[in-house]
Amino acid sequence: MARLYQRPIFVLSVFAVPLLTFVAPSWAGLSGVAPCWAVLWLMPWSLLDGPLSGFIAGIALGLMLDGLSTGGFSHLPALMFLGWWWGWIGKRGALIERSLNLGLLAWLGTMLIGMSFFLQIWFLNNDFSGPLLRYWSFHTTLSQSILTGLLAPMMSSWLMLIWRRRSSI
Protein backbone atom coordinates (compact mmCIF):
# COMPACT_ATOMS: atom_id res chain seq x y z
CA MET A 1 0.00 0.00 0.00
CA ALA A 2 1.07 3.55 -0.67
CA ARG A 3 0.91 4.93 2.90
CA LEU A 4 -0.54 8.19 1.66
CA TYR A 5 -1.65 9.02 5.22
CA GLN A 6 1.96 9.67 6.21
CA ARG A 7 2.14 12.71 3.92
CA PRO A 8 0.40 15.70 5.57
CA ILE A 9 -0.06 17.46 2.21
CA PHE A 10 -1.95 14.45 0.83
CA VAL A 11 -4.14 14.30 3.95
CA LEU A 12 -4.84 18.03 3.73
CA SER A 13 -6.05 17.61 0.14
CA VAL A 14 -9.26 16.17 1.63
CA PHE A 15 -10.32 19.75 2.42
CA ALA A 16 -10.76 20.30 -1.32
CA VAL A 17 -13.98 18.27 -1.00
CA PRO A 18 -15.85 20.64 1.38
CA LEU A 19 -14.39 23.63 -0.47
CA LEU A 20 -15.72 22.39 -3.83
CA THR A 21 -19.04 21.55 -2.17
CA PHE A 22 -19.24 25.15 -0.95
CA VAL A 23 -18.14 26.81 -4.18
CA ALA A 24 -20.28 24.47 -6.33
CA PRO A 25 -18.83 25.71 -9.66
CA SER A 26 -21.65 25.97 -12.15
CA TRP A 27 -19.51 24.74 -15.08
CA ALA A 28 -19.01 21.42 -13.30
CA GLY A 29 -22.71 20.82 -12.73
CA LEU A 30 -25.48 19.55 -14.96
CA SER A 31 -28.60 21.75 -14.67
CA GLY A 32 -27.75 22.60 -11.08
CA VAL A 33 -26.82 19.07 -9.94
CA ALA A 34 -23.19 19.01 -8.80
CA PRO A 35 -20.96 15.94 -9.15
CA CYS A 36 -20.24 13.97 -5.99
CA TRP A 37 -16.86 15.46 -5.02
CA ALA A 38 -16.47 13.05 -2.11
CA VAL A 39 -16.42 10.08 -4.52
CA LEU A 40 -13.86 11.76 -6.80
CA TRP A 41 -11.46 12.15 -3.87
CA LEU A 42 -12.23 9.00 -1.86
CA MET A 43 -11.92 6.55 -4.78
CA PRO A 44 -8.25 7.20 -5.66
CA TRP A 45 -7.36 7.46 -1.98
CA SER A 46 -8.87 4.06 -1.11
CA LEU A 47 -7.61 2.33 -4.25
CA LEU A 48 -4.03 3.36 -3.42
CA ASP A 49 -4.12 3.24 0.36
CA GLY A 50 -6.08 0.13 1.31
CA PRO A 51 -9.32 -0.73 3.09
CA LEU A 52 -8.58 0.56 6.61
CA SER A 53 -7.32 3.95 5.45
CA GLY A 54 -10.23 4.17 3.00
CA PHE A 55 -12.70 3.35 5.77
CA ILE A 56 -11.25 6.05 8.07
CA ALA A 57 -11.18 8.57 5.20
CA GLY A 58 -14.83 7.70 4.50
CA ILE A 59 -15.74 8.44 8.14
CA ALA A 60 -13.79 11.73 8.07
CA LEU A 61 -15.45 12.87 4.84
CA GLY A 62 -18.89 11.80 6.08
CA LEU A 63 -18.53 13.74 9.33
CA MET A 64 -17.36 16.85 7.50
CA LEU A 65 -20.04 16.80 4.82
CA ASP A 66 -22.81 16.03 7.33
CA GLY A 67 -21.70 19.09 9.29
CA LEU A 68 -22.06 21.23 6.18
CA SER A 69 -25.56 20.17 5.16
CA THR A 70 -28.99 20.90 6.56
CA GLY A 71 -29.46 17.33 7.74
CA GLY A 72 -32.26 14.84 7.37
CA PHE A 73 -29.98 12.17 5.99
CA SER A 74 -26.31 11.24 6.42
CA HIS A 75 -23.35 10.57 4.13
CA LEU A 76 -21.65 8.32 6.71
CA PRO A 77 -22.94 4.78 5.95
CA ALA A 78 -22.37 4.93 2.18
CA LEU A 79 -18.94 6.63 2.38
CA MET A 80 -17.70 4.21 5.09
CA PHE A 81 -18.68 1.25 2.95
CA LEU A 82 -17.27 2.74 -0.25
CA GLY A 83 -13.91 3.57 1.39
CA TRP A 84 -13.57 0.00 2.60
CA TRP A 85 -14.81 -1.55 -0.66
CA TRP A 86 -12.54 0.45 -2.96
CA GLY A 87 -9.61 -0.23 -0.62
CA TRP A 88 -10.39 -3.93 -0.79
CA ILE A 89 -10.52 -3.84 -4.60
CA GLY A 90 -7.23 -1.91 -4.74
CA LYS A 91 -5.49 -4.37 -2.43
CA ARG A 92 -6.79 -7.45 -4.21
CA GLY A 93 -5.20 -7.33 -7.63
CA ALA A 94 -3.35 -5.19 -10.10
CA LEU A 95 -3.69 -1.42 -9.79
CA ILE A 96 -6.83 -0.08 -11.42
CA GLU A 97 -6.00 2.89 -13.62
CA ARG A 98 -7.96 2.47 -16.85
CA SER A 99 -10.40 5.31 -17.50
CA LEU A 100 -13.34 3.01 -18.07
CA ASN A 101 -12.77 1.10 -14.83
CA LEU A 102 -12.39 4.28 -12.77
CA GLY A 103 -15.51 5.75 -14.36
CA LEU A 104 -17.50 2.60 -13.67
CA LEU A 105 -16.36 2.44 -10.04
CA ALA A 106 -17.25 6.11 -9.53
CA TRP A 107 -20.64 5.59 -11.19
CA LEU A 108 -21.41 2.61 -8.95
CA GLY A 109 -20.25 4.50 -5.85
CA THR A 110 -22.42 7.54 -6.57
CA MET A 111 -25.42 5.31 -7.32
CA LEU A 112 -24.86 3.65 -3.96
CA ILE A 113 -24.67 7.01 -2.14
CA GLY A 114 -27.89 8.14 -3.86
CA MET A 115 -29.64 4.90 -2.93
CA SER A 116 -28.53 5.24 0.70
CA PHE A 117 -29.94 8.82 0.80
CA PHE A 118 -33.19 7.61 -0.75
CA LEU A 119 -33.53 4.75 1.76
CA GLN A 120 -32.81 7.10 4.66
CA ILE A 121 -35.49 9.54 3.45
CA TRP A 122 -37.85 6.63 2.90
CA PHE A 123 -37.47 5.11 6.36
CA LEU A 124 -36.88 8.21 8.49
CA ASN A 125 -39.49 10.53 6.97
CA ASN A 126 -42.58 8.49 6.21
CA ASP A 127 -44.86 11.49 6.21
CA PHE A 128 -43.70 12.97 2.90
CA SER A 129 -42.93 9.93 0.76
CA GLY A 130 -45.01 10.84 -2.28
CA PRO A 131 -44.34 9.88 -5.90
CA LEU A 132 -42.81 13.31 -6.56
CA LEU A 133 -40.12 12.61 -3.98
CA ARG A 134 -39.31 9.28 -5.64
CA TYR A 135 -38.95 10.89 -9.07
CA TRP A 136 -36.74 13.59 -7.63
CA SER A 137 -34.52 11.05 -5.81
CA PHE A 138 -34.02 8.91 -8.90
CA HIS A 139 -33.45 11.93 -11.10
CA THR A 140 -30.82 13.34 -8.74
CA THR A 141 -29.14 9.96 -8.24
CA LEU A 142 -28.94 9.22 -11.97
CA SER A 143 -27.73 12.66 -13.06
CA GLN A 144 -25.17 12.88 -10.27
CA SER A 145 -23.80 9.39 -10.91
CA ILE A 146 -23.48 9.94 -14.67
CA LEU A 147 -21.72 13.25 -14.08
CA THR A 148 -19.36 11.77 -11.47
CA GLY A 149 -18.65 8.75 -13.68
CA LEU A 150 -17.67 11.06 -16.53
CA LEU A 151 -15.47 13.29 -14.36
CA ALA A 152 -13.71 10.44 -12.51
CA PRO A 153 -11.39 9.37 -15.39
CA MET A 154 -10.13 12.97 -15.55
CA MET A 155 -9.92 14.05 -11.91
CA SER A 156 -9.44 10.79 -10.01
CA SER A 157 -6.81 9.37 -12.36
CA TRP A 158 -4.98 12.69 -12.19
CA LEU A 159 -5.02 12.52 -8.36
CA MET A 160 -3.81 8.89 -8.49
CA LEU A 161 -0.99 9.84 -10.82
CA ILE A 162 0.21 12.67 -8.56
CA TRP A 163 -0.05 10.63 -5.39
CA ARG A 164 1.76 7.65 -6.90
CA ARG A 165 4.58 9.77 -8.30
CA ARG A 166 5.12 11.67 -5.06
CA SER A 167 5.00 8.53 -2.88
CA SER A 168 7.08 6.65 -5.48
CA ILE A 169 5.25 3.37 -5.96
Partner: protein, 249 residues
Protein backbone atom coordinates in the same frame (compact mmCIF):
# COMPACT_ATOMS: atom_id res chain seq x y z
CA UNK B 1 17.32 -4.87 30.18
CA UNK B 2 18.66 -1.42 29.52
CA UNK B 3 16.82 0.73 27.05
CA UNK B 4 18.98 3.06 25.02
CA UNK B 5 17.99 6.77 25.02
CA UNK B 6 17.56 6.55 21.25
CA UNK B 7 14.84 3.90 21.65
CA UNK B 8 13.04 6.07 24.21
CA UNK B 9 13.22 9.02 21.87
CA UNK B 10 11.90 6.88 19.00
CA UNK B 11 8.97 5.69 21.12
CA UNK B 12 8.16 9.24 22.14
CA UNK B 13 8.16 10.29 18.50
CA UNK B 14 5.86 7.48 17.42
CA UNK B 15 3.54 8.40 20.30
CA UNK B 16 3.56 12.01 19.15
CA UNK B 17 2.61 10.86 15.67
CA UNK B 18 -0.25 8.87 17.15
CA UNK B 19 -1.60 11.85 19.13
CA UNK B 20 -2.05 13.73 15.86
CA UNK B 21 -4.20 10.91 14.56
CA UNK B 22 -6.21 10.84 17.80
CA UNK B 23 -6.77 14.60 17.67
CA UNK B 24 -8.10 14.49 14.09
CA UNK B 25 -11.27 12.43 14.80
CA UNK B 26 -11.90 14.70 17.78
CA UNK B 27 -11.74 17.75 15.53
CA UNK B 28 -13.99 16.13 12.91
CA UNK B 29 -16.51 15.17 15.57
CA UNK B 30 -16.51 18.79 16.71
CA UNK B 31 -17.17 19.88 13.12
CA UNK B 32 -20.06 17.41 12.86
CA UNK B 33 -21.65 18.31 16.21
CA UNK B 34 -21.36 22.06 15.73
CA UNK B 35 -22.85 21.76 12.23
CA UNK B 36 -19.73 22.96 10.46
CA UNK B 37 -18.40 25.63 12.83
CA UNK B 38 -14.86 26.45 11.81
CA UNK B 39 -15.13 25.09 8.27
CA UNK B 40 -18.03 27.35 7.27
CA UNK B 41 -16.40 30.34 8.94
CA UNK B 42 -13.08 29.60 7.23
CA UNK B 43 -14.88 29.44 3.90
CA UNK B 44 -16.59 32.77 4.62
CA UNK B 45 -13.24 34.42 5.35
CA UNK B 46 -11.50 32.89 2.30
CA UNK B 47 -14.33 33.64 -0.14
CA UNK B 48 -14.88 37.24 1.00
CA UNK B 49 -13.25 38.85 -2.09
CA UNK B 50 -15.63 36.92 -4.34
CA UNK B 51 -18.92 37.89 -2.71
CA UNK B 52 -21.40 39.52 -5.10
CA UNK B 53 -21.16 43.29 -5.15
CA UNK B 54 -23.86 45.93 -5.08
CA UNK B 55 -24.59 45.73 -8.86
CA UNK B 56 -27.61 43.57 -8.20
CA UNK B 57 -29.10 46.08 -5.78
CA UNK B 58 -31.20 47.94 -8.37
CA UNK B 59 -32.77 44.80 -9.71
CA UNK B 60 -33.39 43.68 -6.18
CA UNK B 61 -35.00 46.98 -5.29
CA UNK B 62 -37.53 46.82 -8.13
CA UNK B 63 -38.47 43.28 -7.12
CA UNK B 64 -38.64 44.48 -3.55
CA UNK B 65 -41.06 47.27 -4.49
CA UNK B 66 -43.33 44.77 -6.23
CA UNK B 67 -43.22 42.59 -3.17
CA UNK B 68 -43.95 45.55 -0.91
CA UNK B 69 -46.98 46.65 -2.90
CA UNK B 70 -48.56 43.17 -2.88
CA UNK B 71 -47.68 42.80 0.77
CA UNK B 72 -49.22 46.16 1.59
CA UNK B 73 -52.49 45.20 -0.07
CA UNK B 74 -52.58 41.93 1.88
CA UNK B 75 -51.75 43.70 5.11
CA UNK B 76 -54.50 46.25 4.64
CA UNK B 77 -57.11 43.57 3.96
CA UNK B 78 -55.92 41.52 6.89
CA UNK B 79 -55.81 44.49 9.21
CA UNK B 80 -59.32 45.57 8.31
CA UNK B 81 -60.64 42.05 8.86
CA UNK B 82 -58.91 41.70 12.21
CA UNK B 83 -60.06 45.09 13.40
CA UNK B 84 -63.60 44.20 12.49
CA UNK B 85 -63.46 40.89 14.29
CA UNK B 86 -61.33 41.54 17.33
CA UNK B 87 -60.89 45.28 17.54
CA UNK B 88 -57.17 44.61 17.30
CA UNK B 89 -55.17 47.81 17.11
CA UNK B 90 -51.56 46.67 17.10
CA UNK B 91 -49.54 46.25 13.90
CA UNK B 92 -48.92 42.68 12.75
CA UNK B 93 -45.15 42.80 13.07
CA UNK B 94 -43.86 43.00 16.60
CA UNK B 95 -40.32 43.75 17.72
CA UNK B 96 -38.47 42.29 14.74
CA UNK B 97 -35.76 43.70 12.51
CA UNK B 98 -34.27 42.79 9.15
CA UNK B 99 -30.62 42.04 8.39
CA UNK B 100 -29.28 41.97 4.82
CA UNK B 101 -26.94 39.08 4.04
CA UNK B 102 -25.14 37.76 0.95
CA UNK B 103 -25.60 34.22 -0.33
CA UNK B 104 -22.03 32.88 -0.38
CA UNK B 105 -22.81 29.29 -1.30
CA UNK B 106 -25.92 27.74 -2.75
CA UNK B 107 -27.22 24.33 -3.68
CA UNK B 108 -30.73 24.25 -5.03
CA UNK B 109 -31.08 21.15 -7.21
CA UNK B 110 -29.06 18.27 -5.76
CA UNK B 111 -29.70 16.40 -2.54
CA UNK B 112 -29.62 19.52 -0.41
CA UNK B 113 -31.55 22.69 -1.01
CA UNK B 114 -29.69 25.23 1.07
CA UNK B 115 -28.01 28.63 1.11
CA UNK B 116 -24.99 29.65 3.14
CA UNK B 117 -25.35 33.27 4.25
CA UNK B 118 -22.55 35.71 5.06
CA UNK B 119 -23.91 36.62 8.48
CA UNK B 120 -24.31 34.43 11.51
CA UNK B 121 -24.72 34.22 15.24
CA UNK B 122 -22.54 37.30 15.83
CA UNK B 123 -25.19 39.35 13.98
CA UNK B 124 -27.97 37.85 16.06
CA UNK B 125 -29.22 35.19 13.64
CA UNK B 126 -30.69 32.15 15.33
CA UNK B 127 -32.11 28.82 14.25
CA UNK B 128 -35.68 29.21 13.03
CA UNK B 129 -35.38 32.82 11.81
CA UNK B 130 -37.26 33.62 8.61
CA UNK B 131 -35.33 34.40 5.39
CA UNK B 132 -36.91 36.70 2.83
CA UNK B 133 -35.63 37.19 -0.73
CA UNK B 134 -36.76 39.56 -3.48
CA UNK B 135 -40.32 38.38 -4.07
CA UNK B 136 -41.11 36.76 -0.77
CA UNK B 137 -40.29 33.93 1.59
CA UNK B 138 -37.18 31.84 0.79
CA UNK B 139 -36.80 29.54 3.78
CA UNK B 140 -35.83 29.25 7.41
CA UNK B 141 -32.47 29.30 9.19
CA UNK B 142 -31.45 25.73 9.96
CA UNK B 143 -28.20 26.40 11.83
CA UNK B 144 -25.89 29.33 12.53
CA UNK B 145 -22.14 29.46 13.11
CA UNK B 146 -20.45 32.66 14.37
CA UNK B 147 -19.88 34.11 10.85
CA UNK B 148 -22.31 32.15 8.66
CA UNK B 149 -25.78 30.70 8.76
CA UNK B 150 -27.46 27.97 6.74
CA UNK B 151 -30.92 28.34 5.20
CA UNK B 152 -33.17 25.39 4.46
CA UNK B 153 -35.10 26.38 1.33
CA UNK B 154 -38.83 25.88 0.90
CA UNK B 155 -38.12 23.36 -1.87
CA UNK B 156 -35.96 21.13 0.38
CA UNK B 157 -37.44 17.71 1.14
CA UNK B 158 -38.84 17.83 4.66
CA UNK B 159 -39.45 21.57 4.75
CA UNK B 160 -42.97 22.23 6.03
CA UNK B 161 -44.67 25.55 6.69
CA UNK B 162 -48.25 26.60 7.20
CA UNK B 163 -49.60 28.87 4.44
CA UNK B 164 -52.94 30.12 3.22
CA UNK B 165 -54.63 31.37 0.10
CA UNK B 166 -55.74 34.95 0.90
CA UNK B 167 -58.48 35.05 -1.78
CA UNK B 168 -60.46 32.08 -0.44
CA UNK B 169 -59.05 32.24 3.11
CA UNK B 170 -58.12 28.56 3.11
CA UNK B 171 -55.23 27.10 5.06
CA UNK B 172 -52.79 24.47 3.87
CA UNK B 173 -49.36 22.98 4.43
CA UNK B 174 -46.54 23.80 2.00
CA UNK B 175 -44.29 20.72 1.76
CA UNK B 176 -40.92 20.66 -0.03
CA UNK B 177 -40.56 17.70 -2.38
CA UNK B 178 -37.03 18.24 -3.71
CA UNK B 179 -38.40 19.51 -7.02
CA UNK B 180 -38.42 23.23 -7.81
CA UNK B 181 -42.17 23.43 -7.10
CA UNK B 182 -43.22 22.57 -3.53
CA UNK B 183 -46.58 20.97 -2.92
CA UNK B 184 -49.44 22.70 -1.11
CA UNK B 185 -51.64 20.19 0.73
CA UNK B 186 -55.04 21.63 1.64
CA UNK B 187 -56.76 20.87 4.90
CA UNK B 188 -60.23 20.92 3.35
CA UNK B 189 -61.80 18.49 0.90
CA UNK B 190 -63.02 21.20 -1.43
CA UNK B 191 -60.41 23.90 -2.07
CA UNK B 192 -62.12 26.62 -4.07
CA UNK B 193 -58.78 27.89 -5.34
CA UNK B 194 -57.82 28.48 -8.96
CA UNK B 195 -54.49 28.40 -10.78
CA UNK B 196 -52.97 31.87 -10.43
CA UNK B 197 -54.09 32.47 -6.84
CA UNK B 198 -51.48 33.99 -4.54
CA UNK B 199 -50.22 31.90 -1.63
CA UNK B 200 -48.89 33.69 1.45
CA UNK B 201 -47.88 32.80 4.99
CA UNK B 202 -50.77 32.28 7.30
CA UNK B 203 -51.90 35.23 9.42
CA UNK B 204 -52.73 32.75 12.19
CA UNK B 205 -49.21 31.27 12.40
CA UNK B 206 -47.22 31.93 15.53
CA UNK B 207 -43.93 30.79 13.93
CA UNK B 208 -43.88 32.69 10.64
CA UNK B 209 -44.48 36.42 10.19
CA UNK B 210 -47.97 36.91 8.73
CA UNK B 211 -48.77 37.71 5.09
CA UNK B 212 -45.42 37.19 3.42
CA UNK B 213 -46.00 36.32 -0.26
CA UNK B 214 -44.75 32.80 -1.01
CA UNK B 215 -45.86 31.75 -4.48
CA UNK B 216 -48.57 31.30 -7.07
CA UNK B 217 -50.74 28.23 -7.56
CA UNK B 218 -49.77 26.57 -10.82
CA UNK B 219 -51.91 23.45 -10.99
CA UNK B 220 -54.38 21.73 -8.69
CA UNK B 221 -54.88 18.01 -8.13
CA UNK B 222 -58.38 17.65 -6.64
CA UNK B 223 -58.26 13.84 -6.48
CA UNK B 224 -54.96 13.59 -4.57
CA UNK B 225 -55.11 11.52 -1.40
CA UNK B 226 -55.42 12.05 1.52
CA UNK B 227 -56.25 15.67 0.67
CA UNK B 228 -56.30 17.82 -2.48
CA UNK B 229 -52.95 19.32 -3.34
CA UNK B 230 -51.51 21.99 -5.62
CA UNK B 231 -48.14 22.68 -7.21
CA UNK B 232 -46.78 26.10 -6.22
CA UNK B 233 -44.49 28.26 -8.32
CA UNK B 234 -42.35 30.21 -5.87
CA UNK B 235 -42.00 33.96 -6.43
CA UNK B 236 -38.42 34.13 -5.17
CA UNK B 237 -36.15 32.19 -7.60
CA UNK B 238 -33.52 30.24 -5.63
CA UNK B 239 -30.97 30.12 -8.46
CA UNK B 240 -30.83 33.90 -8.98
CA UNK B 241 -30.91 35.30 -5.45
CA UNK B 242 -27.66 36.86 -4.25
CA UNK B 243 -28.98 38.99 -1.40
CA UNK B 244 -31.53 38.00 1.22
CA UNK B 245 -32.95 39.53 4.36
CA UNK B 246 -33.13 37.66 7.64
CA UNK B 247 -35.86 38.61 10.06
CA UNK B 248 -34.34 38.26 13.50
CA UNK B 249 -36.28 38.07 16.70
Amino acid sequence: MRISPWAVLFRLRSFQRLTLWLLLPGFLLFVRLSKGAGLSDLYAIVSRPFWPGSAQREWLQSAYQLEQSSKLRLLEQDNARLRDLLELKKAATGSTSLISATVISRSYKGWWHQFLLSKGALNGIQKGDVVIGPGGLVGKIESATPLTSRVKLLTAPGSQIGVWVPRTKQHGMLIGMGTSRPQLVFLEKDPRVLPGDLVSTSPASSIMPPNLPVGVIQSIDIRALPAPSAAIQLIAPSEAIDWVQVQIR
